[in-house]
């Protein structure tokens, strides 16, 4: 719905976006960020009318081609190296909080 896209952003929308981005913003942060985001989005909104359908999008400054290499085994990180920066590890594995909710 590009035609109806608005530049404004409400405090509730910011809270929703923060939730999608997995950031637990508190009320003070929402009060602080929401008006700033509204101003930023208003200033970038001017871009909407600049290019027409005849202009192709550019996602990358150079043409990207898939890079293949020979399928040979090479040394990689050891389990100890890979786990060295982990907040918690157990039995050569990352230890993470529970992933499934109560109802699952």
């Amino acid at each position: 719905m590009p035609e109806t896209a608005r530049a404004e952003i409400s405090r509730e929308e910011v809270a929703h976006l923060a939730d999608l981005a997995r950031i637990d913003l508190d009320d003070a942060e929402l009060d602080h960020l929401a008006p700033q985001l509204a101003v930023i989005l208003e200033s970038v909104a001017a871009i909407r009318g600049v290019a027409g359908d005849d202009v192709p999008p550019t996602s990358h400054p150079i043409p990207l081609t898939n890079v293949f290499r020979e399928d040979v085994v090479r040394p990689g990180l050891s389990a100890e190296e890979a786990l060295a920066g982990a907040p918690a590890a157990e039995d050569q594995r990352f230890s993470v909080p529970r992933i499934l909710g109560e109802e699952q």
Binding site: M1, P2, A5, I9, E13, V14, L17, A18, D19, L20, A21, R22, I23, D24, L25, D26, E29, H32, L33, Q36, L37, V39, I40, L41, S43, V44, A46, I47, R48, V50, A51, V55, P56, P57, T58, S59, H60, P61, I62, L64, N66, V67, R69, L77, E81, A82, A84, G85, A86, P87, A88, F94, V96, P97, R98, I99, L100, G101
Partner: protein, 495 residues
């Protein structure tokens, strides 16, 4: 320094120790001093210096810069040394691998002095968004050193390091270079490997040198550049002749070179002292034989908006990996929190304001319903900007502008006004969107505040050598006009 090492006039240990002493004298901490470094590795640097001296004594120097110490922006991974990206979320993290550029400088024998301060995840134009406190401009410690590579630029300006590595996503090498009176280069996109660079925006980020002279940048660029099979966006076309181009430019002859002044990136609204030094530098290039014309790039006025949609979109995706599960900080809320609760609490505690702002803008720009209007349009504007560059390079060999609209502004002045902060990158951003290379060289000091002004040159992709020719010519002419290098004017820096 490379010449002094080659002639045996000094040793790498002496050079490295002198810089470590200087760091100890002026760098200070979060509360006072330049605060260019987040981590200093005195022991490691001296050990590398000793082996470099042994190699030289045996006649086995690996590179012209073998033994010259260097500082590395804290966004590049280094084994054995912390990499925090200026963020709490990576506090104390020691990477298990070296970035390709770090591997190359180590292999060439350059001792690494330490890791330099930066805006958190390279998001900012003032190094005030570092979670570890701001870097201060050696010219005036109440002012910003530019960002996000303010630490690297300030370290070089304050004589704490002769060379440094930075990264430039929207101008983070060139803008700090401009406001600290140093030379900063953003190579052609893909010309220098990004492997081991903690990404902010993959399609825009580029590693490059920060130095005191154009020739130093050419030597360092030559060393770190070239194809890297570990980076799928690395360009497999050699970019050569950089050092020769710098030497040719320094000889002062620009006959046959066509230079375009970008209409949209100069004139009204720019600080008068910045425009005055810029215009004088253009005049000096004319006297060196260059043909100067004005060139219009009409879509550059939309570059800032396109950038501030594309960059957060890529950043929001890149920073998803900081999820408290595999490395970095983990904050566990009370009770029996789920992985999602832990992620949210960790990311709230670990990221600063600017990072949160950009993640949310990126999430918005990529969300259903807004994607075409914002992200899609920004990508089309990127096409238009590339076309502007292509049309301009049919008329001229290089494009020039002031690097930054103003000199260094006071710390704190724009911290609560993100839009005003973003405007600092106005002149540097188009090059990142199009992937073309750019250089900033000192153009003198502004009359109104006595602070450094940067002169920017931009060349077509893979024509990085042109930057060094023009940059070295501008540097030689400005140095001659001022009676010495700009850093001779640097006030005494005290911690």
């Amino acid at each position: 320094m490379a010449a002094a090492l080659a002639s045996g006039e000094t040793s790498s240990v002496a050079l490295t120790q002198a810089h470590l002493d200087r760091i100890a004298a002026v760098d200070g901490d979060a509360d006072s001093g330049v605060h260019a470094f987040l981590h200093v590795d005195a022991e490691g640097a001296l050990a590398q210096a000793r082996t470099s001296d042994e190699r030289r004594a045996a006649g086995n120097a690996r590179h012209a810069l073998d033994g010259v110490p260097i500082a590395v922006k804290d966004v590049l991974t280094t084994t054995g040394l912390p990499t925090t990206c200026g963020s709490k979320i990576l506090e104390g993290w020691i990477p298990p691998y070296d970035a390709t550029v770090v591997r190359r400088i180590k292999d060439a024998g350059l001792p690494i002095l330490g890791k330099t301060n930066m805006d958190e995840f390279a998001m900012g134009s003032s190094t005030e968004h570092s979670a570890y406190g701001p870097t201060r401009n050696p010219w005036d410690q109440t002012r910003i050193p530019g960002g996000s590579g303010g630490g690297s630029a300030a370290a070089v300006a304050a004589f704490e390091a002769p060379l440094a590595l930075g990264t430039d996503t929207g101008g983070s090498i060139r803008q700090p270079g401009a406001v600290t009176g140093t030379v900063g280069v953003k190579p052609t996109y893909g010309g220098v490997s990004r492997y081991g660079l903690v990404a902010m925006a993959n399609s825009l980020d580029q590693v490059g040198p920060v130095t005191r002279t154009v020739l130093d940048s050419a030597l360092l660029h030559d060393l770190i550049g070239g194809h890297d099979p570990l980076d799928s966006t690395s360009v497999d076309t050699p970019v050569g002749g950089l050092v020769a181009a710098a030497e040719q430019g320094a000889a002062g002859d620009l006959t046959g070179l066509r230079v375009g002044v970008i209409t949209e990136l100069s004139g009204e609204g720019w600080q008068p002292g910045v425009m005055a030094r810029f215009n004088e530098t253009v005049e000096l290039l004319t006297r060196a034989g260059a043909e100067v014309v004005e060139v219009s790039c009409p879509n550059f006025v939309h570059a800032l908006a396109a950038y501030y949609l594309l960059m957060p979109a890529e950043a929001s995706s890149n920073l998803a990996k900081f999820d408290a599960m595999r490395y970095g900080l983990r904050v566990t809320p009370e009770g029996s929190p789920s992985a999602e609760d832990v992620m949210k609490a960790t990311r709230d505690a670990g990221f600063g304001d600017e990072v949160k702002r950009r993640i949310i803008i990126g999430t918005y720009a990529l969300s259903s319903g807004y994607y075409d209007a914002y992200y899609g349009q920004a990508q089309k504007v990127r096409t238009l900007i590339s076309r502007d560059f292509a049309a301009a390079y049919e008329q001229v060999d290089v494009l020039v502008s002031p690097t930054s609209p103003t000199t260094a502004f006071p710390l704190g002045e724009k911290l609560d006004d993100p839009l005003a902060m973003y405007l600092n990158d106005l002149a540097t951003i188009p090059a990142n969107l199009a992937g073309v290379p750019g250089i900033s060289v000192p153009a003198g000091l502004a009359d109104e505040d006595g602070l450094p002004v940067g002169f920017q040159a931009l060349a077509p992709a893979l024509a990085d050598d042109r930057l060094y020719r023009v940059g070295a010519a501008a540097e030689a002419a400005v140095t001659a006009a001022l009676g010495g290098p700009i850093l001779n004017e640097l006030p005494e820096v005290l911690a």
